[in-house]
């Protein structure tokens, strides 16, 4: 399973790439702006120059930001394709959203509510739909978010690499219980998962 690229890394890389450039831009603009306001204050610099434009400068600051913006787009798109291309052999879990809880159905027919249990180091594909209004499944730790729409099956996938508990939430406003529509993602060892998914708990 080592050859699967975890999209979390791609998303984070895209994020840091964009936010890094943004910080540089923001600091540059702000510092230059403050410097100008102080350096050219009227009491010290009473005679303004009459500069109405500079086409070379203007072309430069159209052209260069365009290139940077396109690079940002590419990084974002790479991350997005990472999130969309499900590797083979993924464990498929059906997810049904309803006001206000999540139902998870495993290939064995086992069903759980508000609790998603998955084996570590196995890609998991979620096939998501809704029984009523639009919800949105969000697992921050795995950078996964996709709307659950009635009449449509959407999907998402993630690669849990560390055993532990993570949380999932609804991010599409769905009514009075929206904020309570949370759940837990339990990443367990493969053996523990096998045992758990086979056991019949009365569903």
């Amino acid at each position: 399973m080592t050859d699967i690229i975890n999209p979390v890394a791609l998303v984070d890389r895209s994020f840091y790439f964009i936010i890094g450039f943004s910080f540089v831009f923001l600091f540059a603009i702000t510092l230059v702006m403050i410097y100008f306001v102080i350096r050219y204050r009227r009491s010290r610099h009473p005679k303004p120059a009459d500069i109405r434009g500079n086409w070379k400068l203007e072309t430069a600051w159209i052209f260069i930001p365009t290139l940077i913006a396109l690079a940002m787009f590419v990084s974002g798109w790479q991350a997005y394709t990472g999130l969309r291309n499900v590797p083979e052999g993924a464990l498929e879990v059906d997810v049904i959203a309803q006001s206000f809880s999540w139902i998870f159905i495993y290939p064995t027919g086992k069903e759980t509510e508000n609790e998603l249990q998955v084996p570590v180091n196995t890609p998991v594909k979620l096939n998501i739909t809704s029984m009523d209004v639009i919800h949105s499944l969000y697992i921050p730790a795995f950078r996964v978010k996709v709307d659950a729409v009635n009449g449509l099956t959407t999907y998402a996938w993630f690669l849990p690499e560390t055993i532990g508990e993570y949380f999932l939430q609804c991010t599409e406003f769905c009514g009075v219980g929206h904020a309570d529509m949370t759940g837990v993602v339990r990443v367990v060892s493969e053996d523990a998962f096998e045992e758990w998914v086979e056991e019949d708990d009365g569903w």
């Binding site: 923001l26 100008f36 991350a79 969000y138 009449g151 929206h178």
Partner: protein, 547 residues
């Protein structure tokens, strides 16, 4: 010179009627100003309630149902009753005709009708609150929730419908005015940049607003007649609703920000006493924003389940829209270079605008990138982002415009020191309010949450604290401005900043017909050579107004 306040209108227009049935664009602008301030303060209060509720985990001041209604009402009022009309309807109405050397707008009666529609929309929105429970859908009215919820969605939607009409008619009026009523010697490239921005805005208002009109009509039709056009069980496509909704609501973002950019483009050159850098580039970028801004609506929908091709196209186009905004920011900063800059309250607000709007714009890049968007979509990150652009942008431009044009509208000057303190307080509170929300969003706290997981407690506490500072600053600013109205007319308010556009060539407040003789139009709207030769500035002004 008698101002438009003193000039009596014809018989039958005396007293309160001289306001309620006036066709004078200046009086209508003031009607808008005070009604907009009322709605703004109401919505600020509602926003404060939201933050107060979230300041501590669990239930504090609101029930969950009430919380949902409050954020819906906050959104509806802020968007439809404050941000969209704020700059065009107040300052556009007041200064657009003056900027182009005209006596009034082209359709004065329609202008008054727009104000009445605006007020009617606001009242319908409030009525829905008291009749059957205010809608709890959020201002986006997403189907199928907006169709299935039992609250009073139809009334609120109807309010938005009326307000859309008002905004559309204002746009129609402005386009006609700019086309048909410019002073004879004023060509297109002699228009002030604020007017240009209003022109671009007006086209968006005109062409995009009907889309929301029909969308809202469809929501009402669904609720009353059960047609099933968005009902998945009967073939309808809920995602299509989102397309239609954002087809208006994304361009609407530019309806909100473009006039703000126009205001900044006025204030910066006047404060630096130096021509705006790249006039034509700024004009072109206004138009480019208006056009390209209409092509990117679906970047609100990356997680909605729409096709990956659409994600690709709309993400790419989104990055294209970033460029014209960047051009404007660079041009403003470049205008400051080698100027003779005088710090005034409007300039301070403008500088805060540039900073806050840049943060908003740059975080928008994170949201525009398909992959990075997925993580932060519909979280507090988005909330912080659009408050930086809408409030840090349009809101601060509105404050800057208030301070810039207040002496022209009323002939009275406010206290500078209090204005500076208010500006700093609002900005600092703003940062403390919204920066933690970026962090919360990255940690994964969704928006529109009544309650939250324990790890989000610290951020929400800081945000709530910042909100209170910000509200205090807004309060101080309002008191300072309104207090100036009780004073006598201040001397020297005809042209306190040394501006050169046409409004500064006439007395403050302007006479009834704006111009007593044909205005003298300059070849280039930002030529400060004469002002520089004459000297003097606002600093001397302030010592006179003092205590």
């Amino acid at each position: 010179m008698t101002s438009f306040y003193q000039t009596p209108e014809p018989a039958g227009f005396a007293g309160i009627r001289s306001w309620l049935i006036t066709f004078d664009h200046k009086r209508i602008a003031l009607l808008y100003l005070f009604s907009i301030l009322f709605w703004f303060l109401l919505a600020v209060t509602l926003g404060g309630l939201i933050r107060l509720e979230l300041m501590f985990p669990g239930k504090t001041v609101l029930s969950a149902q009430m919380y949902n209604s409050v954020f819906t009402l906050h959104g509806v009022i802020m968007i439809f009753l404050f941000i969209i009309p704020a700059l065009p309807a107040v300052f556009g109405n007041f200064f657009l005709p003056i900027h182009i050397g005209a006596e009034d707008v082209y359709f004065p009666r329609l202008n008054l009708l727009s104000w009445y529609l605006y007020m009617a929309g606001g009242i319908v929105a409030i009525v829905s609150l008291f009749s059957d429970g205010f809608p709890d859908t959020g201002w986006t009215f997403y189907v199928p929730f907006s169709i299935s919820t039992n609250t009073n969605v139809s009334t609120a939607v109807f309010a938005a419908f009326i307000l859309g009409f008002s905004s559309m008619l204002t746009g129609l009026n402005f386009i006609t005015t700019i086309h048909k009523m410019r002073a004879k010697t004023m060509g297109w490239l002699q228009l002030p940049l604020f007017t240009w921005s209003l022109y671009a805005t007006a086209w968006v208002q005109l062409l995009a607003t009907p889309v929301i009109t029909i969308t809202l009509v469809l929501v009402v039709v669904e609720r009353f007649f059960n047609v099933g056009l968005f009902d998945p069980a009967r073939g309808g496509d809920p995602i299509l609703y989102q397309h239609l909704f954002w087809m208006y609501s994304h361009p609407a973002v530019y309806i909100m920000i473009l006039p703000g950019m126009g205001v900044i483009s006025e204030i910066i050159p006047v404060s630096a006493r130096k021509s705006i850098f790249g006039y034509k580039a700024i004009v072109a970028s206004s138009l480019a924003i208006a056009i390209a801004g209409s092509l990117v609506w679906a970047h609100h929908m990356y997680t909605s389940g729409m096709s990956e091709t659409a994600v690709f196209v709309f993400s790419l186009l989104t990055f294209v829209v970033a460029i014209p905004s960047a051009i404007k920011v660079f041009s403003w900063v470049a205008t400051l270079y080698k100027g003779a800059i005088e710090m005034t309250p409007p300039l301070l607000f403008s500088l805060c605008f540039i900073y806050l709007f840049s943060v908003g714009g740059l975080t928008g890049l994170v949201l525009g990138a398909a992959g990075a968007n997925i993580h932060v979509h519909d979280t507090h990150f988005v909330v912080a982002h659009f408050h930086f652009t809408m409030f840090g942008g349009t809101g601060f431009a509105f404050f800057a415009a208030l301070h810039y044009w207040w002496p022209k509208m009323f002939g009275k000057m406010y206290d500078f020191k209090k204005a500076y303190i208010a500006a700093i307080l609002v900005t600092a509170g703003f940062m403390l309010h919204y920066v933690p929300m970026f962090v919360l969003g990255l940690q994964g706290m969704p928006r529109r949450y009544y309650d939250y997981l324990p790890q989000y407690a610290a951020g929400n506490f800081f945000a709530g604290f910042g909100a209170l500072c910000m509200i205090a600053g807004i309060g101080l600013m309002m008191v300072n401005l309104l207090a100036s109205l009780t004073r006598e007319r201040t001397a020297g308010t005809d042209d306190p900043w040394g501006g050169v556009t046409l409004e500064w060539t006439i007395p403050s407040p302007p006479p009834l017909h704006n111009f007593d003789k044909d205005p003298e139009v300059m070849d280039y709207p930002y030529d400060f050579t004469k002002v520089v030769a004459a000297g003097s500035g606002a600093a001397s002004m302030d010592s006179e107004t003092g205590k």
